[in-house]
Symmetry: C2
Subunit: 191 residues, 2 copies
DNA sequence: CTCTGTTGGCTGAACGCTCATTCAATCACA
DNA sequence: TGTGATTGAATGAGCGTTCAGCCAACAGAG
């Protein structure tokens, strides 16, 4: 049975993690004080140390909670049998949506990943997983004859890089279909 | 005439900017103390305030000095008359080399750009310039008939995104030719 | 060329402030 | 009544910045 206390505890925990996530993403971890978080959450500074041993542990709680790796990994799931174009389109759209939804954690991972070795590790894992999954999919479609034989290490980076560029440049996701069509058909004039 | 004093002053200035650039890139601006910079440069803390009014001004001195915008802008210069593939290949290779050389400043701009509005502005300017220049080039090649008509807002992002992805994933620049060929010829199997 | 006064690069200790963290006291639920 | 959530003031370390003084390089006078 869940007593009222346990439930409140859970809610508080979630509230503090969410508040900190938002502030960390907006101002950066180092520029966000415990006081900032406490004020934004409407609690006393001391309370944060009842839930987390340190600012550092709070940061890790955020990362563990919102880490987008599982969703990224599943991005090509259920692709079998469906046409390449459909799959790529859906994967790109899903990835874009995921990155948009998880703005906060992406910003935190990116920013802290530039300096903290342990975060860098996380980031690299995410990258390598994405490259492996994407490259694997493309190779299966080469084997099936839908794609011509080519260096999938190159094409998977083009695919992922395009999505990143669209997101970073603040462009509309409406560009995604055009990106896929360019990648599949090429932009050179037919000879 | 340049007195010995003036020359030393210039050298010191350069040394301090370079030392700070390296440390800022490695540990982040907020995690780098004036003491760190002074020790790494082998001078007293106070000296930094003889050359720069504040840590903030030192940061801006770095940005002004190593800003890669001019080189980026010139990346498609002298393209006229040469085949698309050659131009894209050289542009991509140059861009990759530039990003590699200027690692430090890119990291600083990226990291601080995530939180400081004025840096964000710099970053956005760099981006928009790159998109405008690249898109312009591609459109001229559509007009000349070398490329088929397509959405260059999409293809320019694919082009730039591919380079970013290669750099970020730590892959070899040897992938660049494959990326260009994929983009030009497409990866779909010929019908 | 030598002496002398001045300028300015350079030092490192000191200041004041902010921050993460602690802790004794209070409050509300069980 | 007891346990755990919550408070907010206190602590102490670390940081950016200041400043009074030292010394080498310079300019001008003799």
């Amino acid at each position: 049975m869940t007593t009222q206390r346990e439930q409140r505890k859970q809610e508080r925990h979630d509230q503090l993690v969410a508040t900190a996530r938002h502030l960390f993403a907006e101002k950066g971890v180092e520029n966000t004080t415990i006081k900032d978080i406490a004020e934004a959450a409407g609690v006393a500074q001391g309370l944060l140390y009842h839930y987390f041993d340190s600012k550092e542990e709070l940061l890790w709680a955020i990362v563990e909670r919102y880490n987008p790796l599982p969703e990224m990994r599943a991005i090509f799931a259920g692709a079998e049998g469906r046409p390449v174009r459909d799959v790529l389109l859906q994967a790109a759209t899903t990835a874009y949506a995921l990155v948009s939804e998880r703005q906060d954690i992406i910003r935190i991972l990116l920013r802290e990943g530039l300096t903290r070795p342990d975060f860098q590790e996380r980031f690299r894992t995410l990258q390598q997983m994405a490259i492996a999954v994407g490259s694997g999919f493309l190779q299966r479609r080469i084997a099936s004859g839908e794609l011509r034989p080519h260096n999938t290490q190159a094409s998977v980076r083009t695919f992922a890089g395009s999505i990143i560029a669209i997101y970073l440049s603040g462009a509309s996701p409406d560009l995604i279909p055009d990106v896929i069509d360019n990648l599949l058909g090429g932009v050179a004039a037919p000879t």
